[in-house]
Symmetry: D2
Subunit: 421 residues, 4 copies
Amino acid sequence: MEKSTMAQSKGTVVLAYSGGLDTSCILVWLKEQGYDVIAYLANIGQKEDFEAARKKALALGAKKVYIEDISREFVEEFIWPAVQANALYEDRYLLGTALARPCIARRQVEIAQREGAQHIAHGATGKGNDQVRFELTCYALCPKIKVVAPWRLPEFYQRFPGRRELMDYAKKHGIPVPVTPQTPWSMDENLMHISYEAGILENPKNQAPPGLYTKTRDPATSPDTPDVLEIEFERGVPVKVTNIGDGATRSSALELFVYLNDIAGKHGVGRIDIVENRFVGMKSRGIYETPAGTILYHAHLDIEAFTMDREVRKIKQGLALKFSELVYNGFWHSPECEFLRHCIGRSQEPVVGTVHLSVFKGQVYILGRESPRSLYNEELVSMNVQGDYEPADATGFININSLRLKEYHRLQSKVTVKQDE
Amino acid sequence: MEKSTMAQSKGTVVLAYSGGLDTSCILVWLKEQGYDVIAYLANIGQKEDFEAARKKALALGAKKVYIEDISREFVEEFIWPAVQANALYEDRYLLGTALARPCIARRQVEIAQREGAQHIAHGATGKGNDQVRFELTCYALCPKIKVVAPWRLPEFYQRFPGRRELMDYAKKHGIPVPVTPQTPWSMDENLMHISYEAGILENPKNQAPPGLYTKTRDPATSPDTPDVLEIEFERGVPVKVTNIGDGATRSSALELFVYLNDIAGKHGVGRIDIVENRFVGMKSRGIYETPAGTILYHAHLDIEAFTMDREVRKIKQGLALKFSELVYNGFWHSPECEFLRHCIGRSQEPVVGTVHLSVFKGQVYILGRESPRSLYNEELVSMNVQGDYEPADATGFININSLRLKEYHRLQSKVTVKQDE
Amino acid sequence: MEKSTMAQSKGTVVLAYSGGLDTSCILVWLKEQGYDVIAYLANIGQKEDFEAARKKALALGAKKVYIEDISREFVEEFIWPAVQANALYEDRYLLGTALARPCIARRQVEIAQREGAQHIAHGATGKGNDQVRFELTCYALCPKIKVVAPWRLPEFYQRFPGRRELMDYAKKHGIPVPVTPQTPWSMDENLMHISYEAGILENPKNQAPPGLYTKTRDPATSPDTPDVLEIEFERGVPVKVTNIGDGATRSSALELFVYLNDIAGKHGVGRIDIVENRFVGMKSRGIYETPAGTILYHAHLDIEAFTMDREVRKIKQGLALKFSELVYNGFWHSPECEFLRHCIGRSQEPVVGTVHLSVFKGQVYILGRESPRSLYNEELVSMNVQGDYEPADATGFININSLRLKEYHRLQSKVTVKQDE
Amino acid sequence: MEKSTMAQSKGTVVLAYSGGLDTSCILVWLKEQGYDVIAYLANIGQKEDFEAARKKALALGAKKVYIEDISREFVEEFIWPAVQANALYEDRYLLGTALARPCIARRQVEIAQREGAQHIAHGATGKGNDQVRFELTCYALCPKIKVVAPWRLPEFYQRFPGRRELMDYAKKHGIPVPVTPQTPWSMDENLMHISYEAGILENPKNQAPPGLYTKTRDPATSPDTPDVLEIEFERGVPVKVTNIGDGATRSSALELFVYLNDIAGKHGVGRIDIVENRFVGMKSRGIYETPAGTILYHAHLDIEAFTMDREVRKIKQGLALKFSELVYNGFWHSPECEFLRHCIGRSQEPVVGTVHLSVFKGQVYILGRESPRSLYNEELVSMNVQGDYEPADATGFININSLRLKEYHRLQSKVTVKQDE
């Protein structure tokens, strides 16, 4: 860059760089606009040639490249709280992308602060959730940061209305162009899940093409024998997995999660095809794979039901519903989400024990459970033993519960009679 | 019965009779106590030789026997509202038994009223939910009715502490005793589901024995090709099912439900093994099969997400959570449950359309959906077309949403600095 | 502006005109920008010389002036649903302004449609809630309408950074300037309430100056004898007020509401000083007077508690909380708010009866109530009569309710013992 | 009592003794039944001659008498959490009795444990809430304890169907009979509140007689000048009260609360007349005075709104609603209530600052507030200063929020058109 243009530098920007066409073009374009660009590529478990990406970014003029492995903190600080919450957006989505964004953006802010960068940039579109998740994280952690979101800047998105214009720009600026033909949908992957959307999937009636899935095998061709696992929980978080079949065990958070991904993926577990409501107000269609997350969702539900008081559970369920919505909408780093994580965490203190389950043909089957902190009382519930229970009490219980219903009936009859007169 | 004892008749009781050992003994015991017994056997879709049961009841001294087919009203008036609600107790249980009880008890009350009976009796245990569901229904519909619940009467349950005493009593009173050995667990079946609990299942760690299931095939031996279905909804209720494979269709509520039971059963869909919280305050373990209900749960979730406004959905989800709890606890016939059914029903007006799904190896896979009332806007959500959407608006949206977070950060920094000083 | 530029008319705009300095300047400025301006002044119960305002608007160049009395529909269609809901934002604010906005804007949209205007303009600031309430109403009722919000346009707000610049502009363009000195706070009034904010009130520690209040008398100088009223409700809505003192009665919605305003105002009822959370994310301080609304809030709470089932009430309370938030945030015209109004309306069917209350020195005291649809059962609750109640039932009720607590205690002891070892 | 009958001692019972006619008769009756009776009289702030009561109990044959001053722990451990929660049952009741019961019963259990008593007895009726609150506390803290509730035992309540029979019994057993005529209603008092119910108040239309109130002066004759107070909060709990008029201050929990009772009582603050829903299912009418509690409710609401994030507040409000219900129903000592107290407590960390208010003629008027942890930003909210706020952002914010509403309108139009065709 010539000195003459240096005078008009707009400062330093940390770009969330993926190595793909879009963010490569954005990198060059940001330089064109007068920014010093630091490329930041988070290794959050996606399949990627990180070194190739580093070279590419440097070749395109990045002042510096950060490749940060944040997989472990993704699991421990983001996925685990979601497991504790049984977090599910709109009854179906396990929040794989939504959980990754604040983890990625948090590190991005840290880099910006370390580097004295005033700006942060990302390649998220202007219609999606990810822009919100990125930016709310940035603003929450560093209010004075400035976000550059090219896909929301008319000078950018009008210049690149389609992929062709990006390709032209790439060729012109020596940006390597992908050699394999693009899939007719877009993907976003991390350790927890992969999403497929856009393109031919935008028609919500179109069935996902057979070859689409990458993280899970087709249940039609998955093994004909299940893997049987024991998952041990402490404070609502998995601490050990044992495969009953071959005795394999995993204990550290990251290894355990990767292992569950393998097992679940092998058996085709974790596929969904949904229409969901984005925070910006539109409905969108997504196809997701969340292998390990799906096993853990079922296992945690089970051990929680076994160890948590009924009424605490009900309150916690309400909090988790709100938590899931906040995470989806990008409010991971917010006072309310912090508050909810604290409360949900508190509820998990007794969630200790082991769940036995089988993974087979796209399904997770709970087989049994045990816990030193269970509130399950075999004697109390037994149909053969009376235990510390007086059946006659149930009569009073029912009678008192019926009082209100009888009063209501009494009134209804009165009203109806009157109306009939 | 001799005339001399007739003088002390306690009146007429309508007994919910199953034809099994327990309620047969209860029938005779009630007569012994001085009641005139009318046996009432609801055909709610369970496998049963109803005519044999009729003869048995008469032989045991029932004054009259009612065998009532209430399957259709069970589907239309009880299951359909649950489908509309996506009703799920504690995130897992589709409420198969809980929905049947108020349906059975409602007819029982009608019979009692028709027959001028002052009493109603049932064979539910004193520790369970069913006694509550039965009796709250009775009291809500006819407050002056009196319930005789032998399993809560010391004179009964102390006389029959175990199965052996029942058997002895049966032999003594000429009650036919089951010839097949009893399963080491108890079962309760209706059109929607079957439950297995008690006995060897009371140990929550014990895995369900392989031969236990009766309504679904083992996914390990289920067909290797899926059935692909289209389910059409109106007002949140299925109105037509088409099997894409063979073109079979079903339209009436009952036939459609039975058909889905067949398909789901054939593919091993709808098995769960859970620990749940009973209304009387204890945890219990149950294994359930809900074939058609599971398909409909997934299908309805999908069409609802496609057609219902995001915020309406969120409110409705909260109502449905409450609804599920009320149904589980036996409050189907209550002012609050009535209110919720009305509200949830209202929310279903736009829930119209067709869901495409595949049933395979224990799983239901949503393939796609279409609707004339969808709020999904392909153009709006498209990544390639701008549609009626201004990306720059998202900047303002995010900025305003971040305002609160920035303020919070500002304060936290202030507080932290102060604390550091 | 030269005639030549006039040729490029931007079309017609319907301006929500108040007759004050701000919207008078906006009217002239809009003309300057090339709009044909239709002035619309809603009579929603505020004190105003409407005819003077009409003349002023015409003198300033309005193409047409609409002065619309929407007081009656404000009461019947907006205030009544809020009374039914016991609507309260953040536990204190009766939503006086929030309820008026969608009523005003709805008529504005109707005028725009009648006049074929493409634009709507208002004088609400860029930091407040009213802009949102105005515009969401417009977009919800007529998505294609375009809103001109001068206080959010840099060309406007940078030109008029303060009142002085507005005054200068007014003088230059022959806009009559207020002769009375401005109060050091801003006010917004309608039939239901008046708000005071900004200026010296922006410091949340500053006490409201004594002369500020306009709708209620100072309780210190209010009458030394109360007014005792009977308010009759049907479907949760007041249908008749009787003053026990002088026998005065009011029955039509508008007259009844105006009468309650008089009585409450005379006794200093309805003043609050609060800090609230705006939808745009900041906290603001407001002082409000809501005379009639305060009486009705208390009266409705009372008759509702008297006639509504406990559990229905609890569900309805949750819905009303959401309703209040939606109304505050400007979502009156939204699918979710429509849904809530329907549900809340349904809950009000039994809310029938008469509340006796006294209004005195800033307070509303409930004295008693009666209703043909009350669920209150004097015999049942009596401490002297047993009624249809078996005290022994309460033993069973309590015992069963304690089951869960005992189990929890049992576990806690076990855990504590273990930890002690 | 003869030695011969003594042989069949039923063990020791700790009786919650009030010194009044009812519990005096119960004391003697319990002895008659063969119990050793320990009388326990909690000093929880009610007006009572405790020494006279001690003598009376001993004279009636109590083996031992405990008079325990639990006022301080009542304030600090029970009232303070309720203040933090803004606890309000059914929108009106500040829970004065409901908070006292678990405090009283907890000490009763401690005494029973210390004394090796197997039983606990109380004089609460069989229709009310207090029996539940007492006993759930006992069972939660000591599951093996046995409760004797005479008013639920047929042998007791059938023997004493009315006051006359109690009087006769008293005379016969040398129990001193009250000399002053009984009020035609019953009262229950503690430091926080007094309740009046039953008797002539059972008719919900009957106005409270003028002389009924004992804790507050009639607002008609209360002082004509207000008391102006500053209440300082830390972690949502009042830590200092200053009377601006005379400079009086109070800092310790108990003194502060007593002082606020004095001030509020003097100005007639805290009276309500309500119909509420009891846990056992009936509606009851109560008249309550809660002087200090009413001031603190208003003051805490204000400081909380000033310092707590909007969204945290909303979640906390939901938790507090549940908390209030649990406290009312007697579940103070339960896992869920413990959980809620923890969560609500956490939310109170930033609730710090001082509220200025005036107490006058039955009302509490908030005058202003200040806090070092306020989230209120005067510059941000100012109508005169732009602050760190970009008005144009609000345009994007509104537009994005309207997206969903526009889509809904689009669909409605489509549907309507179709229906018209």
